[in-house]
């Protein structure tokens, strides 16, 4: 019989809270973490908004010596992992460590360190850069630090598939357990790219939201007629995935069962989202979960608030869900936490898992002007509580055409 995989621990550092309870509470209350950035460099940018992590002091978590080799994105990842491991009350024997691993997602790794290096070498023409630049900035640093800290001797891998990176990290970690290679996996994503160069590059692509003239926090408007794009954010999320039998035997708290995952590609355009490819991914994830569309009580949308993206995702949901599409609540929490790039898939899947856990659905905020082409139930502006959710889905659709869908179900023995 196929192994079942459950979620037993959660950890998050995000623009809307630095632990799972604060994170979900803030999402339910519809409060945005998007704001005008304070860094001095924003004066050089046309678009000056972002979703920064706040109230995070590295010195509260790391010694000065540790901080010489742990970049901001790895700091987020390690603190989120520590929360998840504590939440799961996870301990691993020496033998168990050989069957435990880590999968993380990140787009730009230590973007800040890279930029500092470029400034030294290219602008100041310094003959040297910080000697640990490579170790700080490498994309797999976050996963590697987690592996080292918890002695995870199984796979230690990092996925870089743009916006779906950490959804794929969670899904591939699930497969590691499902296919019998491991019994426990830490999975998630980390990103810290609110830097001048990265923001300038995104600005040039013309996909960033313009600042709302009345309220910077209301700048990201998924599925709304007046949407203008995404808002860059930073943070990390880590989940503990575990073989269900192991979790039951040790009496672990089980948030949910991860029952469906698919990762597949549009194979048509480097940026243009494609409803056909997205539909295919959703269909395959549902099939793996053994669920019908009507079983899904909530979809956490990719919902980037780009003009094309929100329409294509709406079409994809309609393609797969048919008549039920208009009844399933769909929300984009990016309206509040922004787009965390390599961390966003895991952050949003965590939002979906917490929705299931709490029988409550966070809203899509800033949805006051409906777009006729986006005509689903987007849980506009007001979260919903007192529901009976049985299964939830999280969509992640990336530049490059790499799509991932994750489905979690309430766990029953």
């Amino acid at each position: 019989m196929a192994r079942r995989i459950v979620i037993t621990g959660l950890g998050v550092i995000s623009p809307v809270g630095n632990n799972p309870a604060d994170f979900f509470g803030r999402l339910m209350s519809g409060k945005s973490g998007i704001k005008r950035l304070q860094a001095p460099f924003v004066e050089k940018l046309a678009i000056r908004i972002g979703a920064p992590v706040e109230n995070f002091n590295p010195n509260d978590h790391f010694t000065k010596m540790q901080l010489t080799s742990i970049e901001r994105f790895s700091q987020f990842a390690l603190v989120a992992a520590a929360q998840a491991v504590a939440d799961a009350q996870l301990t691993l024997s020496a033998a168990e460590q050989t069957r435990a691993g880590v999968c993380m997602g990140s787009c730009m790794g230590g973007a800040g360190t890279m930029e500092d290096g470029y400034i030294e070498v290219l602008q100041r023409e310094e003959p040297r850069v910080k000697p640990l630049s490579v170790l700080l900035s490498m994309n797999n640093a976050a996963a590697s630090h987690i592996s080292i800290k918890y002695g995870l001797q199984g796979p230690n891998v990092t996925y870089a598939t743009a916006c779906s990176s950490s959804a794929i990290a969670v899904g591939e970690a699930y497969r590691q357990i499902k296919h019998g290679y491991c019994d426990v996996m830490l999975a998630g994503g980390a990103e810290a790219m609110l830097t001048l160069g990265a923001m300038r590059a995104w600005e040039a692509l013309r996909t960033l939201a313009t600042e709302d003239p009345l309220d910077a926090g209301a700048s990201c408007k998924p599925f709304a007629k007046d949407r203008s794009g995404l808002v860059l954010g930073e943070g990390a999320a880590v989940l503990v995935l575990e073989d269900a039998e192991r979790a039951i035997q040790r009496g672990a708290k089980i948030y949910a069962e991860l029952v469906g995952y698919d990762c597949s590609s549009d194979a048509c355009h480097i940026t243009k989202p494609d409803a056909t490819g997205q539909s295919r991914t959703i269909v395959k994830a549902l099939a793996e979960a053994g669920l019908q569309p009507q079983d899904i009580g909530y979809i956490n949308a990719h919902g980037t608030a780009t003009l094309a993206g929100d329409i294509q995702e709406t079409l994809a949901i309609k393609n797969v869900f048919g008549a039920y599409a208009s009844q399933v609540p769909v929300s984009s929490t990016k309206s509040m936490h922004g787009h965390l790039m390599g961390a966003t898939g895991a952050v949003e899947f965590m939002a979906a898992v917490l929705a299931l856990e709490n029988n409550a659905i966070p809203p899509t905020i800033n949805l006051h002007q409906p777009d006729p082409e986006c005509d689903l139930d987007y849980v506009a502006n007001q979260g919903r509580t007192g529901l009976q959710l049985n299964a939830v889905m999280s969509n992640s659709f990336a530049f490059g055409g790499s799509n991932a869908v994750l489905i979690a179900k309430r766990f029953h023995r």
Binding site: T63, K64, M65, T68, S69, R128, P131, L132, L135
Partner: protein, 81 residues
Amino acid sequence: MSSLPTIQRMMVEQFDLKLEDLTPDALLEGLGLDSLSVIEFMFNLEDELKIKLTDERVELKTVQDVANIVDKLIAEQKGAA
């Protein structure tokens, strides 16, 4: 003048180490400084003491070893200036 006091002060500042632990014969590894920490430390020393490390690979085991190599570089590079 030996660079030892400067090195001790910088180790306290950079790594939150205790001055009393930084005896000349204290082992770097025993202080928690692995090879990467030492590389980072030497990089900062270059700035502080206006010296330039050479490509020569030297084995640094103790705090005094660091002071010795730095003193040698100071003598060579400041002397030549």
